[in-house]
C-alpha cells in the first residue's frame, strides 16, 4: 500500500521528524513506530537516536523486506542498554553491510534478532567486537564454492549460528565459542548438510565439543576425585552418572539417586566462593545423608504441600547429621543455601509456602539466620531439641513438618502464583527415594529413558572402540573420532600357508642358523656376593684397602651370573588396503601374496624363538568404520587356526593407520614384557576416503607413533611403497625400512625382525 510521509500525520513534530528520517513505507513499521520510539527515547541519547534512525533507514533499504528493519528497531534499544552508552553501532552496521554484500543476506535477520540476548550475555562493547569477529571469520570461511561449482554459495551454517548464539554464549565463554566455531568450520566447511547440523547443535560432535569447551567444573574432570571423596569420607562406592543440564532449558534436571547410581549434573559453575568441586561434594554428601538416614515414607495420604514440607525438614535433618560427621560441610552448605529475605514474599497475592520453607530450612542450618518469625523460631527450637536426642528419624521429623504446615497454613498458599525466588536449594536431590506410593502415581518420573536391554536381545559382536584423531592444524585431538571394530579374520585353508613355507625351504634353513644364535643367552651380573663364580675386582680391591687401613673389610667380593631370557612382545600390524591387490612390479604375484609369504616366514621364525607374537590386519572405510582383524593372538600357537586366517587374507578399502596402531598398542600395552615391538607392514601412506587433507592422517599416524613411544612401545615400519621416502621418515623418524624389491620381502621381513631384536 503506497504511503508517503505526508500522509503519516504524527502529532508531535519531533516524532514527525524522526519518521521522516527513517524514510520508509512499510505499513508494519508505521504501526509500531511510536511505541518503538518511546522505548528508544528512554534509553538512547538524542545523538544516538540520530544514528539509530540512520542505521534503521539503511537496513530498511537493503531490499530484504520489513523483517530486518522491524527487528532492528525493536532490538537495538535493548542492545544499547546492555552494552552501555557507546553501543557498537558502527561495527554492527559494518558487519550487516558485509553480509549484504556477500551471498549471506539471509543471515541478517537472525543476526539482528539475537543481538539483544547476545549483548546481554556479553555486557561490553569490546566483547561484542570479538563476537562480531568470530561471526565474520566464520562467514568468510564458510561462504564460497562447493565441490568446484563456480557460483558462490551462502554459508550454510551462519543463520543457524546466529539463532543458537544466545544459547551458546550461555554455555561458553567467548574463547570457548571461538573454539567451537573453529572446530565446526574446520571439519564441515565442505559439507553443507553436516555444517548445518553442527551449527544447530544437533550433531553429536557439536555437542561433544560444546561440552568440552563449557565453563565450570566438568564432571569428567573431577570424576576420580568425587569417587575418592565418596569412598574416603563416606565409605560409599556408588556409580556416578552425569546428566546434561545444557539442553534442557525449560525444566532443569535435579540430582537424584536410584538403584543405578547417583545422578549429578555434568558441570557445575563456581558459586561465589564455592568451587564447582565443592558443589559436587555437597550434592554427593547430601545424597549420602539420605541413603544413610532416610527411610522411605508412604506418600499417598499426604498432600503435595505436606510432602514438600517433610522433604525440607528431612533435608535439614540429614544435613545436620552430615555436619556432625564433618563440621566443615556446614560452611559449604550455607554458602550454597539461599537466604531468602524475610519480607520477600507478599502473602496477600502470592503463595508463600516455598518461601517459608526455604527460610525455615536456612534457619535450621544456620545459627545466625536472623529471622524473627515466632513460629519459625519455635520450630527451629523443636527441631534442635529433637536432633539433640540422637539421629531422630524420618518419621519423627515428618510429624514435626506436618505440624509446622498446619500451624503456618495460609489461605494464600493455594494461589497459583508461587514465590520461587531464592527458594531452590540446588545441591539437594529430588527426594524421590523418600516416598513410597501404594498406588501407582505419575508424579515421579525419571528424566532419562531406561537403557535396559530387552530380554532376548543380545549385543552382537564387540562394541566399537573409539579413538581420538590428531588434528595437526589446531594441535588438538578430535575426541572419539574414529570407531574401530574388531573381529577374528575369517578362516581359509591352512595348507596354503604350509605350501608357501615349503617353497621357501632353503631360506628357512638359513634363518634357522641365525635363530639359533639368537636364542636366549644374555647374562646378567649379580654383584656383592659372598660366594660367587668370579672375583669382583673393584670390590675386592676396595675391601683390601679397608683391611690394610685397619677397617672392617666387606667380605662380599665375588660376583656371579645368571642368564636372562629374551622378553620381547611383538605385534605385527598388516595394512590390508585395496592397493595390496596390485601386482608387484616385475612379478606375477600380488603384493598380498608376497606379504602372506613374508608373514608366514616371520611367524615361523618368531615361533622358533618363543617370543610372544600377535598378528592383526586393518583397513578402513571412513572414520566410522575401521576394521581390525585378528589373525593370530598372543595366546595362540602358530598352528592351523592362524595359518588358515592368514591364508584367507583379503585386501580392500583404505589405510587409516593411526587408529589401528592405537588399537594394536592397547593390546601390546597389556603384555608384560621388557621390550615391546610393533611392526607395521604397509604399502602406502595413511589415507582414507573421507579425508581430503593428505597431511592429516600422516600427522595423526605420527602422533600415534609418539603416543606408543611414550607407552614404551617401539614402532617400526616396513614400507613397500617405493615413493615412501617422501613421508615415511616424517612419521616414523628413523624407525623404518623401505623395501624396493618387493619380491624379496619374504626373506627381508624375518631378517629385519631378527636384526631388530638381536
Amino acid at each position: 500500500m503506497p504511503m508517503t510521509n505526508a500522509e503519516t500525520a504524527y502529532q508531535h513534530p519531533l516524532m514527525q521528524a524522526y519518521w521522516a528520517q527513517l524514510d520508509t513505507r512499510f505499513k508494519q513499521v508505521e504501526d509500531v513506530f511510536e511505541d518503538v520510539m518511546a522505548e528508544a527515547l528512554a534509553i538512547l541519547t538524542r545523538e544516538d537516536i540520530h544514528h539509530y534512525l540512520d542505521a534503521a533507514r539503511v537496513i530498511g533499504k537493503l531490499g530484504r523486506g520489513v523483517e530486518p528493519l522491524l527487528v532492528f528497531l525493536e532490538e537495538w534499544p535493548s542492545v544499547a542498554k546492555a552494552i552501555g552508552d557507546e553501543a557498537a553501532l558502527p561495527e554492527v552496521m559494518a558487519f550487516v553491510m558485509k553480509m549484504q554484500k556477500s551471498p549471506n543476506g539471509k543471515a541478517i535477520t537472525p543476526f539482528l534478532q539475537t543481538l539483544a540476548p547476545v549483548a546481554r550475555r556479553l555486557h561490553s562493547r569490546e566483547l561484542m567486537g570479538h563476537y562480531l569477529e568470530i561471526a565474520l571469520d566464520m562467514m568468510e570461511r564458510t561462504t564460497g564454492s562447493i565441490h568446484g561449482h563456480h557460483t558462490t554459495f551462502p554459508s550454510p551454517g551462519l543463520p543457524d549460528f546466529f539463532t543458537q548464539a544466545p544459547f551458546l554464549l550461555s554455555q561458553l565463554s567467548l574463547a570457548g565459542l571461538k573454539n567451537w566455531v573453529e572446530y565446526g568450520i574446520r571439519n564441515y566447511r565442505t559439507h553443507p548438510e553436516r555444517q548445518k547440523d553442527y551449527f544447530t547443535v544437533q550433531s553429536a560432535d557439536s555437542r561433544a565439543v560444546l561440552q568440552r569447551e563449557r565453563h565450570g567444573t566438568l564432571f569428567m574432570d573431577v570424576e576420580r576425585k568425587l569417587d575418592l571423596y565418596l569412598r574416603g569420607l563416606w565409605r560409599e562406592s556408588e556409580q556416578l552418572v552425569p546428566y546434561s543440564t545444557a539442553f534442557d532449558e525449560l525444566r532443569k534436571p535435579v540430582p537424584y539417586f536410584d538403584k543405578l547410581g547417583m545422578r549429578i549434573p555434568d558441570v557445575y559453575d563456581d558459586a561465589g566462593q564455592i568451587s564447582g568441586l565443592d558443589r559436587y561434594r555437597a550434592t554427593l554428601a547430601h545424597m549420602v545423608g539420605h541413603r544413610r538416614w532416610t527411610e522411605a515414607q508412604i506418600a499417598d495420604n499426604w498432600s503435595p504441600f505436606q510432602r514438600m514440607a517433610v522433604e525440607f525438614f528431612e533435608d535439614c535433618r540429614v544435613e545436620t547429621l552430615l555436619c556432625r560427621e564433618y563440621p566443615g560441610l556446614r560452611r559449604i552448605f550455607l554458602a550454597l543455601h539461599p537466604k531468602p529475605a524475610a519480607d520477600a514474599c507478599d502473602p496477600e497475592t502470592t503463595s508463600c509456602l516455598r518461601h517459608r520453607m526455604a527460610m525455615l530450612s536456612r534457619a535450621l542450618l544456620d545459627p545466625d539466620h536472623g529471622y524473627r518469625d515466632a513460629d519459625l523460631l519455635d520450630f527451629v527450637a523443636r527441631f534442635h531439641a529433637l536432633m539433640a536426642e540422637g539421629t531422630s528419624s524420618t518419621k519423627d521429623i515428618a510429624a514435626l513438618a506436618l505440624s509446622y504446615v498446619a500451624k503456618t497454613r495460609r489461605q494464600s498458599d493455594q494461589l497459583a502464583k508461587i514465590h520461587f525466588a531464592d527458594t531452590v536449594v540446588d545441591y539437594r536431590d529430588d527426594n524421590r527415594q523418600m516416598w513410597k506410593f501404594i498406588e501407582e502415581g505419575d508424579e515421579e518420573e525419571a528424566f532419562d529413558a531406561k537403557r535396559k536391554l530387552e530380554p532376548g536381545e543380545e549385543l552382537k559382536g564387540l562394541p566399537p572402540r573409539h579413538y581420538p584423531e590428531w588434528d595437526y592444524k589446531s594441535l588438538t585431538y578430535r575426541p572419539d573420532w574414529v570407531s574401530v571394530y574388531e573381529a577374528l579374520h575369517p578362516k581359509g585353508n591352512p595348507a596354503d600357508i604350509d605350501r608357501l613355507l615349503e617353497k621357501h625351504g632353503a631360506l628357512a634353513k638359513r634363518l634357522k642358523r641365525i635363530l639359533d644364535l639368537l636364542k636366549p643367552q644374555d647374562k646378567i651380573r649379580i654383584r656383592y656376593q659372598e660366594e660367587g663364580s668370579e672375583l669382583d675386582l673393584d670390590v675386592a680391591i676396595r675391601s683390601l684397602i679397608d683391611f690394610k687401613g685397619g677397617a672392617n673389610p666387606d667380605p662380599r667380593i665375588n660376583m656371579s651370573h645368571r642368564t636372562d631370557g629374551r622378553n620381547i612382545a611383538v605385534m605385527l600390524l598388516l595394512d590390508l588396503s585395496e592397493s595390496l591387490n596390485e601386482k608387484a612390479s616385475g612379478s606375477e604375484q600380488t603384493i598380498l601374496e608376497l606379504s602372506q609369504e613374508a608373514v608366514s616366514l616371520l611367524a615361523w621364525a618368531v615361533e622358533q624363538l618363543g617370543d610372544p607374537f600377535a598378528i592383526a590386519g586393518f583397513h578402513s572405510n571412513t572414520r566410522h568404520d575401521v576394521r581390525y582383524l585378528h589373525i593370530k593372538g598372543y595366546g595362540e600357537r602358530w598352528g592351523d587356526e592362524p595359518k588358515g586366517r592368514l591364508a584367507a587374507m583379503q585386501a580392500g578399502w583404505s589405510t587409516r593407520m593411526g587408529a589401528a596402531m592405537r588399537h594394536a598398542g592397547h593390546y601390546l600395552e597389556a603384555r608384560k614384557a621388557d621390550k615391546k615391538l610393533m611392526l607395521i607392514l604397509t604399502d602406502g601412506q595413511p589415507s582414507d576416503v573421507d579425508t581430503h587433507d593428505e597431511q592429516l592422517l600422516i600427522e595423526d599416524t605420527r602422533q600415534a607413533v609418539k603416543e606408543l613411544d611414550r607407552d614404551g612401545i617401539f614402532t617400526y615400519c616396513i614400507s613397500l611403497d617405493p615413493k615412501a621416502d617422501e613421508y615415511v621418515s616424517g612419521i616414523f623418524g628413523r624407525q623404518y625400512t623401505v623395501i624396493d624389491n618387493i619380491q624379496r620381502l619374504p626373506e627381508k621381513l624375518p631378517e629385519l625382525f631378527l636384526a631388530l631384536t638381536k
Binding site: 576420580r224 576425585k225 569417587d227 575418592l228 571423596y229 569412598r231 574416603g232 569420607l233 565409605r235 568441586l277 565443592d278 561434594r281 564433618y326 563440621p327 566443615g328 560441610l329 556446614r330 560452611r331 656383592y528 659372598e530 683391611f547 672392617n552 673389610p553 667380605p555 662380599r556
Partner: protein, 267 residues
C-alpha cells in the same frame, strides 16, 4: 660374654592392647614358640614386641632386615685381623647365646635364602649350626624368635616361603578402632581427646581409600606425628597436611580429597 643388660628395656613403653594379644604372647613365650607379627606399616608391631620384652623382662635384639643382608649378617662371620682371623657373632647368634628375644623386623625384605638360616632355631631342635666355625649352638632356654612382616606389599618377590611361615604362631595386627586409636594418640602425645578423634577420622578417610590409589592408609605412627606437631603448637590443618597427607601420596586427586577431609573435619 656379651652384656645382657644393654639389650634390656628399662622403662615401660606405652602399649594399648587391642585384644588378648598380651596374654597370648605370654603363653607363646612360656612355651618358647616362635612368633610372627603381621600387619600394615605403623600399626604398632614393633612397639608391641618392645612392650612384651619389657613385660617379660628379657633382652631384645632387633635386626632391621634389608635385601642386601646375607646369612652371615645374622649368624656371624670371621673378621680379618693383623695376626689371623677372629669370629664375630651375628645378632641371631648373640640372642641364642644370651637368651634374648630376637626380633627380625620386616623379614620379607631379606632374601629368601637368608631367611632359611633361622629354620633350625624355630622348631624343636632350637639349635643354630655355625658351619663356618664348626660349632653347634644350643639356644639358651630364654631365647625366642619373633619376626614381623607386612603382608600389604602384594609382591611376588616379597613373600615368605611356606616352609618359613609354617614355623611361627602369628598375630594379625591392624590399625586399632577409632576409640582405641584416639586413646592411643591422647596417651602417647598428651593431645586432647577431641582433636585426637578428628585426627583418627582423617586417618580412617585415607584407610578407606586403600587399594584405590593408596597402597597403605595413614598409619597410627603418622597420626602420632601429626598429634605431636599439633601439641607443639602447629596449626592442626597444617600439621595434618604435613604429617598425614604429603608423606603418603603424590597423587593429586587423592591429595585433594584428603585435604578436603581435613578442612571438613577441622572447620
Amino acid at each position: 660374654m656379651t652384656d645382657k643388660e644393654q639389650y634390656k628395656i628399662h622403662t615401660e613403653p606405652y602399649y594399648q592392647a587391642q585384644g588378648k594379644e598380651v596374654q597370648l604372647y605370654e603363653a607363646a613365650y612360656r612355651n618358647r614358640l616362635p612368633v610372627m607379627v603381621k600387619g600394615p606399616t605403623g600399626c604398632g608391631k614393633s612397639r608391641f614386641v618392645e612392650y612384651m620384652a619389657w613385660k617379660l623382662n628379657k633382652p631384645l635384639i632387633t635386626v632391621a632386615c634389608n635385601e642386601d643382608m646375607t646369612a652371615s649378617d645374622l649368624v656371624g662371620r670371621y673378621l680379618l685381623e693383623a695376626n689371623g682371623t677372629r669370629w664375630l657373632d651375628g645378632p641371631l647368634t648373640v640372642a641364642a647365646r644370651i637368651g634374648a628375644i630376637c626380633y627380625l623386623d620386616e623379614i620379607v625384605e631379606a632374601r629368601q635364602d637368608t631367611t632359611v638360616v633361622i629354620h633350625p632355631l624355630t622348631d624343636h631342635r632350637r639349635t643354630l649350626p655355625l658351619d663356618k666355625k664348626g660349632e653347634l649352638i644350643h639356644a639358651h632356654p630364654d631365647f625366642q624368635l619373633v619376626i614381623s612382616y607386612n603382608p600389604g606389599y602384594q609382591s611376588l618377590m616379597k613373600d615368605l616361603k611356606q616352609s618359613t611361615k609354617q614355623r611361627f604362631t602369628a598375630f594379625d595386627f591392624d590399625y586399632p578402632d577409632a576409640t582405641l586409636e584416639t586413646t592411643i594418640l591422647a596417651k602417647e602425645t598428651g593431645l586432647d581427646e577431641a582433636t585426637a578423634g578428628k585426627l583418627v577420622k582423617i586417618g580412617q578417610t585415607a584407610r578407606n581409600l586403600k587399594g584405590h590409589g593408596l597402597d597403605e592408609g595413614i598409619s597410627t605412627r603418622l597420626l602420632v606425628y601429626a598429634a605431636t606437631l599439633i601439641k607443639d603448637g602447629v596449626e592442626p590443618m597444617d600439621a595434618c597436611r604435613m604429617a598425614l597427607v604429603r608423606p603418603i601420596t603424590d597423587d593429586a586427586d587423592i591429595r585433594e580429597t584428603l585435604d578436603h577431609a581435613i578442612d571438613a573435619t577441622f572447620a
